[in-house]
Subunit: 437 residues, 2 copies
Amino acid sequence: MSAAAAEKAPTQQFADRLFDSAATGNLEEVKSLLNAGTAAVNAKNERGWTALMFAARNGQLPVIQYLTEKGCDVNIMNSSGQTALDIASFWNHIDSAVYLQKHSTQSPYDLVSNYFSQNPLYRASDLRKNSEWLETVMKKESTKYVVFDADLSPFFIQGEENRFKFAVFTYSQLVSCLAIKAQVIFLGLETWDPHSSAWFAVRLPDQDNSVCKDSYPDGIFASLFPRGREVLRLEKTHAGLFAEANSVLTWLDRYKFCPTCGSSTQVVEGGYKQVCSNTQCRSRNGVHNTCYPRVDPSLIMLVVTGDNRRCLLGRAKRFPPKMYSCLAGFMEPGECIEDTCRREVEEESGVKVGRVDYHSSQPCLSQQHLCLAVLHMLAQKKLRVDPNELEDARWFTRGEVGQMLAARHPDGMFLPPEEAIARQLIMYWVARSATNL
Amino acid sequence: MSAAAAEKAPTQQFADRLFDSAATGNLEEVKSLLNAGTAAVNAKNERGWTALMFAARNGQLPVIQYLTEKGCDVNIMNSSGQTALDIASFWNHIDSAVYLQKHSTQSPYDLVSNYFSQNPLYRASDLRKNSEWLETVMKKESTKYVVFDADLSPFFIQGEENRFKFAVFTYSQLVSCLAIKAQVIFLGLETWDPHSSAWFAVRLPDQDNSVCKDSYPDGIFASLFPRGREVLRLEKTHAGLFAEANSVLTWLDRYKFCPTCGSSTQVVEGGYKQVCSNTQCRSRNGVHNTCYPRVDPSLIMLVVTGDNRRCLLGRAKRFPPKMYSCLAGFMEPGECIEDTCRREVEEESGVKVGRVDYHSSQPCLSQQHLCLAVLHMLAQKKLRVDPNELEDARWFTRGEVGQMLAARHPDGMFLPPEEAIARQLIMYWVARSATNL
């Protein structure tokens, strides 16, 4: 055993032995390590590789079968975004790939789980139209409240695995500030059962936040800027709660007057609708979007070459040094998604784009954006970067992108964190294109 | 020859002979008809079938090869949404299917061409920020104007193939009403060359529409309601122009006051931005969506069963009798597309939905909607229709849907017209599922 190996923790030493025996096809050693409980079946090395991936790398089918029977997760991705199936396919181990394909219970689409997309609540959009029901439910002791301060900073406490989560309050804990016209919005129910617990978000009416600190002395009001602070380190379901509450509260903060006639508005339907106070206003007849929250669709776009070997990444001036990401842009009125992609990519980089594929969506951090991530096939390779839009844009090989994903690029270039849909899209491309080389 | 056949026009008689000889594999007859010029290679029968489709139906590979060499279009779809490739695959003619696959130059995605998505203009979003450039371009004689009246009805004339198109005006034709504060918005340039012709849309300032009738006495101001009138019978590229102009003009019509402070606004950037007139307003610092047009993403959803044999269609009370269509719903703030689908389908029909696939998008007729069409896999089949949302919803087999597409359903049920993205989505499913039965 080398000196470096000797310094490792015992758990990691057993995991390393598991990886070695999986890679070399030593089934007896794999069995012995797992049955003794000294190594975990889904243990990962520092690049996110599991024993199954090492076995897949070398086509060790008996080991793959045994690990699968022992309940290993065949859908795990390593830090390059590859599953064991991707690896077996890439190295042309057909039998192993076919076996892994059969045991992959999820489609590639189902594997996508964007950070802000995992809201556990049922929005109950019908029930929130009933103001009496809302008032009754608000006062139930099983009802849960999350809190934002007057500047819309959310109040978090420490959660699991070094992540944050919302501090959760009851009605009686907040009754003093609810009485003085705090803004309250309905987030949803815990299940589709109308009697399940309801969740609300509260925006405190002034700078007196003592009600929060009294209950949770260690809680913090998280700053939304600069990006990447506490809001990007939430427990996952709380990121979904944040996306919903933040979108509605931001809308109510910026939309206080009727855009059609300039009168003040009244908030109804648990925060999801505003009605103009002027009974003569046109917005009072029929259904008009002036009364409802905005969802501004923006596109996060990964352009790939026709041979699928390179992708186009760019950086804006405001990015941290050496960070590159997908191109991005807003949809315009009367435009379809596919045309937005073609227009934005050509405007920003001069590259002409052909086919457009949809990847996934998630609400965005700082405004009411919808992110749509897509892959593009290339019609023309010449780059002509618009300096007003981007500081730089260039083609990266799949290998380079793999280095960036693993934080091992020789020039220190890197990608956005996994909470960003851009990284999810890039990982998806790396994993898929690995099997198509 | 039957009496019915004898009544047909000679062109159709030759086409029928071409179809017969393609179906029976009579290559000499096919050659003779095409070389004599008596039948067109892409001729269709009343169900949209071409000679290639008849050959594909019976696996007549030599005829398929000959028709392809003669330049027939392998991507044409019949009125059930099937290509020749779909038909050959469905009837298990493997050699023919492989040959047709090789000669299909377009992917299924590229075949999608939604009615309102085909805007031929380049929006030149950078140039429109330059007000001096806009003012100069407006007065050029090569610049083209389309017109809406004060009620936002567009002014159309007869186009090709019994369709309508915008009447196009020059600056000098409109100069009298442009002088009295008609609303003018910039639509884009004919190409990416900044010197190419610019297009604008004008909203007339009052009820005096004589300027239109003077130039085009036969022109009409098209009513947007009820749906399905002239706006759904435009030449295709003009439908894209309409979508852009209508979206921006509708926004300017409904958004006249700053939602943040209630002050009046000033329209800039060729109609694509409004700036609050109150210099103290928060909306003047930074970029805020209060200043930009809305794009409200709504989803058009086709739910299909796990075995891909049935799909769920519903009807709203406002539909014409016997018309069924996809389910539909708006995205909510902080929601991802996939969750909107699952929530809306379960709310409206009680059906639980699993995987969500994206199909295509197009701007919508009457407001600034973005339509996203998706296929869903089913997790639970039990229907529980919400009477507030739908009058009826039921499962239809692929065969029934084929009858509805061909307007031959025994009970007279039918689908929306091909200008609706819902029909495009349904046709796509029928064509794809035909190959997977």
